[in-house]
């Protein structure tokens, strides 16, 4: 790329977020563009199709009032970059990185391309450091580790942002290392933003947070940029400033809607439900920016939030996300209605990296079998509940009746914890209480050695240092 700016007068056409230029020789793919319509503030854009004959620019701000024929279009000769640095901590920006808090723009420590390059897989460090979130259904059953991307699959009206705030508030690094939080709002309402920020403020986590806010009323095309701007900052804080960074992005569904909107404007052949065929790859360029690198101290952990349209987990947005992320935390409307907080359904939830983060020296030695047993008994109880709905509880066998009681208690006593924070020891002890309410013969996942050691140990046990 030349690095030299060139200015042209007049574009040949505009459609939605797209601007078409003719005979602009030597444009480069990804080149950053400024569009100046007389009497309007300048707009930023990016070359998405560089051609000898026609060049297509995607304008990244609201295009109402943009007049193609009378505008001056400046091609910058550079790719899109953003200011990053520790100085951004404690501040709020919009989706393209301009201050929203009335303070002057930060000087920063570096300029970084927002379209970050992929990590070399051979240089990645295996994520295996347990993050204690204080939430039993996560720490015990779907353990989060540093460098993981673990989304929350929510439904309309379910408290996903509350859960995310609870995680940010409660998250403890294993050895008290320095950490930071980044919140990226993608097309969520001002009320939702408020919900999240209020909790963050109350917990005093604000000074170690950076906010990038693109709300519903902000230009929709900026939704494509906001998470990338946030991740450029996250990568800097993690891999150059050595912080452990937790990134919360809400709501990926709004991001995907914008992606579809742009694809339609480009008259592309649509894939499933009108979403572009490259949505998997595109989402991966966001989500794969989580991880750790060999020889660098920090980490990027992502908790993206998405809303499943009509609670449908097979909808392309959750479906493609689930294929990229390392598991998912699924919220349940049924549990929410029952008043279980947080309403996490552990059965469809999963943490693929859990096994690396648990066991002796990380959580507790028997974590795997303990969790397997809770899963097995809860599954049996849920099946029994379905059966009982038809044949009545009296039609169940004895073992099924026990399992049914277990499932009820599991939801009420283990998953349901309200706003309190539980240490991993408290979580494990609670789980054992439930397990030990069952006869030994029902507990196939617990090894004899574990069981015997536990029976021999004085209470409270289940915890190894």
């Amino acid at each position: 790329m030349s690095g030299l700016p060139r200015t042209f007068h007049g574009a040949s056409g505009a459609s939605g977020p797209l601007l078409f230029l003719r005979n602009t020789h030597r444009t480069a793919l990804g080149e950053w563009v400024t569009v100046q319509t007389p009497g309007e503030s300048p707009r930023r854009g990016q070359v998405i199709d560089a051609g000898d004959a026609v060049t297509v620019v995607q304008v990244l701000e609201e295009t109402i009032g943009l007049a193609p024929a009378t505008s001056d279009i400046t091609l910058s000769g550079e790719v899109a970059q953003v200011t990053v640095g520790r100085e951004l901590l404690g501040r709020a920006f919009n989706g393209v990185g301009a201050p929203r808090d009335g303070l002057p723009p930060p000087v920063g420590e570096a300029l970084r391309p927002i379209w970050g390059a992929p990590m070399n897989p051979a240089r990645r460090l295996k994520p295996e450091d347990f993050i204690e979130t204080g939430i039993s259904a996560i720490d015990g059953m779907n353990t989060l580790v540093r460098g993981q991307k673990l989304p929350v699959f929510s439904g309309p009206g379910l408290p996903a942002l509350e859960l995310a705030a609870q995680i940010v508030e409660g998250a403890r690094a294993p050895h008290g290392e320095p950490f930071a939080a980044i919140f990226c709002a993608i097309g969520i309402t001002a009320r939702e933003t408020r919900t999240f920020l209020d909790r963050l403020e109350r917990s005093g986590a604000m000074e170690r947070s950076v906010l990038f806010l693109n709300e519903t009323r902000d230009p929709s095309v900026e939704r494509i940029l906001a998470p990338r701007v946030a991740l450029a900052e996250a990568e800097f804080l993690a891999f150059e400033a050595g912080l452990h960074v937790l990134v919360v992005m809400a709501d990926l569904s709004n991001y995907c809607e914008t992606l579809r909107e742009i694809a339609t404007a480009r008259e592309e052949i649509p894939g499933r439900r009108g979403y572009p065929g490259y949505m998997y790859t595109d989402l991966a360029t966001l989500l794969e920016r989580a991880g750790m690198l060999q020889g660098r101290p920090g980490s990027v952990t992502q908790i993206p939030i998405l809303t499943m349209p009509d609670d449908d987990i097979t909808h392309p947005i959750p479906d493609l996300t689930g294929y990229i992320t390392e598991g998912q935390i699924v919220l349940s409307r049924e549990l929410h209605r029952k008043g279980v907080t947080p309403p996490i359904d552990v059965l469809p939830s999963l943490s693929r990296l859990m096994n690396a983060g648990i066991g002796q020296g990380r959580t507790v030695r028997e974590h795997r079998e303990w969790a397997d047993q809770l899963y097995a008994s809860y599954t049996q109880g849920r099946e029994a509940r379905l059966m009982a709905a038809i044949v009545g509880e009296s039609g169940l066998g004895e073992a099924d009746r026990r399992a049914l009681t277990f499932a009820d208690r599991f939801e009420r006593e283990f998953v349901n914890q309200g706003g309190t924070r539980r240490t991993i020891e408290e979580t494990v002890a609670r789980g054992w209480q439930l397990i030990e309410s069952m006869p030994r013969d029902d507990l196939l996942r617990i090894r004899d050695a574990t069981w015997d050691a536990r029976q021999a140990a004085p209470r409270p046990a289940g915890v190894t240092p």
Partner: protein
């Protein structure tokens, strides 16, 4: 004549002009940084290129340089243990060149040009050699005899062949006509390597996973499709196979998957020992990695790079398993490129040639005799994960695969939600190899193997039907014999077919252990049935302790297996006796 330059850049595609003489699939160097690309369409003097590296920053007017040849891969010693990107560049070397993040334009040879190999000739000057003949050997990673073959298409009389230390670029000798001989040769990845005769699929690829070895066996040289929604455990299955399948060489293609999973493999494999050879698992593994955020065109190429390496080791006479995770991402890369070319789409936007390309890929599998001498048999088994949208198997990639695959291991989200792993849906899954490989299993285990297999399948089927009925009338309303079937099906499901990849004692189940567990569980069912028929009520069978003894056997270390099995057998033989007396 003017030199060709870029006239358009969009996504992974670029156009260059004038490039009338270019041939299809010819490799080109794109732009000042020399990005790797391939010609995929020529129209008049405009050529369309797919670019294997990130195209951001490519400018209209930058030069394009032809290479005159197709995408090739050097095949020779040094492949084992390496981690290559989708076009065959070693990722470690790329990291040295461009840092922790992948940057376009770096050049790194697939085989380390500095490594020296001790070559031991098996032929000598004056010998007449044909394509595929073994010229000699080198030891690769101290673990494998790497046979140096006369490249396909070459033959003649040896004028000179030297023993000694060579790099992959040194000549180790020459033919009488002057053709130099090397430890490595290039091969175009999209072209299958020639083989002799195809052999029948009558030997299993033993996987160490009970549900596959017992119910849905894979054949050596066969093809297996593993479709499953997200979270159903495709990756864990592929990784378990990479660790424990009884193959000499494993080629693992991570196609459009997660970077963190690759780091897990990279950390874990070197520490694991292959029980049969005593060497590290990494010593038999080649990894081809294109994570989901790496350039999409290289994803398309990665499966061909992987299978070409697999064919190369097969030609030496080895049993090779190619594990691809996941072919859906490969198909999506095809779709993405086709869409940018504005091709008329077929089903769900996939190009109309999807099923033909898939078929051609799978047909590179097989158990064969290699060309050349001495006579060798080799096999290439393909086990490919598929990621169907929404877990729906009616989608085009799964359906196109099922037309050619010999076995289907269908994974089911509801089983995965119940933490039943491997989450194999035994009603949908099948293996067309089961009858052909049965004699081998009988030989390796016991004559009752086919009978046990049939019994387990029948009881699982009957158990499923009874579960549906019990869901309506309640289990208490069933007859005692039916309640026993329900219970036995549950034992098979949880204790026999279920296998924990995280339990070091159970992650791999040798055939002997598999047979023992299944035989005990089937005996349990039969004895319990006998007791019921003699009038004992179901409640008094007291199956709890027996279930626990089987669970203990399943999770016991190899050294305690005999003891645990004996304990379970004693309990099973005593079943119902005390109650009757």
């Amino acid at each position: 004549m003017t030199a060709p330059v870029l006239t358009r850049v969009t996504g992974a595609l670029a156009e260059a002009q004038p490039l009338r003489e270019a041939s299809l699939y010819e490799v080109v160097r794109v732009g000042h940084r020399g990005l790797l690309g391939e010609v995929i369409r020529v129209r008049d003097d405009v050529a369309t290129l797919q670019v294997y590296e990130e195209t951001t920053g490519l400018e209209v007017g930058e030069p394009v340089e032809r290479s005159g040849r197709a995408l090739t891969l050097p095949l020779g010693p040094g492949l084992l243990g390496s981690i290559l990107d989708g076009v065959g560049r070693p990722l470690e070397r790329l990291a040295e060149l461009t840092g922790d993040f992948v940057q376009p334009g770096a050049r790194a040879p697939t085989l380390d040009p500095a490594a020296r190999w001790e070559f031991r000739p098996r032929r000598q000057s004056g010998d007449e050699v044909q394509e595929g003949d073994v010229l000699g050997t080198v030891m690769e990673r101290g673990a494998l005899e790497h046979r140096i073959l006369v490249p396909p298409g070459m033959s003649g009389r040896i004028a000179q062949l030297d023993a000694g230390q060579f790099t992959v670029t040194d000549a180790i000798g020459r033919l009488v006509d002057g053709t130099p001989l090397h430890l490595a040769h290039d091969w175009p990845v999209r072209r299958p390597r020639p083989v002799g005769a195809r052999l029948p699929d009558d030997r299993p690829l033993v996987t160490g996973q009970r549900v596959f070895d017992l119910l849905f066996p894979a054949a050596e040289g066969g093809t297996v499709a593993v479709p499953g929604g997200f979270g159903t455990g495709k990756t864990i299955i592929e990784q378990s196979l990479a660790k424990y399948a009884e193959a000499d060489i494993v080629v693992y293609v991570g196609c459009g998957e997660r970077g963190n999973e690759m780091s897990e493999v990279l950390r874990e494999f070197p520490r694991l020992t292959d029980a049969r050879t005593g060497h590290s698992i990494m010593d038999r593994t080649v990894m081809v990695v294109n994570t989901s955020n790496m350039p999409v065109a290289a994803r398309e190429a990665s499966v061909y790079v992987g299978i070409t390496i697999a064919e190369y080791y097969r030609d030496m006479g080895y049993r090779v398993a190619l594990l691809a995770d996941s072919l859906s991402r490969w198909a999506e890369a095809l779709r993405e490129i086709a869409a940018r070319l504005a091709e008329m789409p077929g089903e769900e936007g996939y190009p109309t040639y999807l099923s033909n390309r898939l078929g051609q890929f799978y047909e590179r599998a097989g158990r064969v005799t290699a060309i050349g001498g001495p006579a060798r048999e080799g096999s290439l088994t393909v086990i490919a994960a598929i990621s169907p949208p929404g877990g729906d198997l009616s989608e085009p990639v799964t359906q196109a695969t099922l037309r050619v695959a010999g076995a289907l291991w269908a994974l089911d989200a509801s089983l995965a939600n119940q933490r039943q792993f491997p989450a194999v849906d035994w009603e949908t899954s099948y293996s067309l190899y089961a009858d052909q490989v049965a004699p081998w299993f009988v030989q390796a285990t016991s004559p009752d193997w086919p009978d046990l297999r049939r019994t387990v399948l029948e009881l699982l089927q009957r158990g499923q039907e009874l579960r549906d009925i019990a869901g309506l009338v309640g289990p208490e309303a069933l007859q005692d014999t039916d309640r026993l079937v329900l219970e036995s099906a549950r034992i098979f499901r949880e204790l026999i077919l279920g296998q924990s990849a995280y339990d070091p004692n159970d992650a791999s189940s040798p055939l002997g252990k598999t047979h023992e567990l299944v035989a005990l569980a089937v005996t349990l069912h039969r004895r319990a049935l006998g007791a019921l028929q003699r009038g004992l009520p179901f409640e008094r069978l007291n199956l709890g302790p027996i279930r626990r003894s089987l669970a203990a056997l399943r999770g016991a270390p190899a050294s305690e297996q005999g003891e645990r099995a004996a304990a379970a057998r004693t309990l099973i033989e005593g079943l119902g006796a005390e109650a009757l007396s």
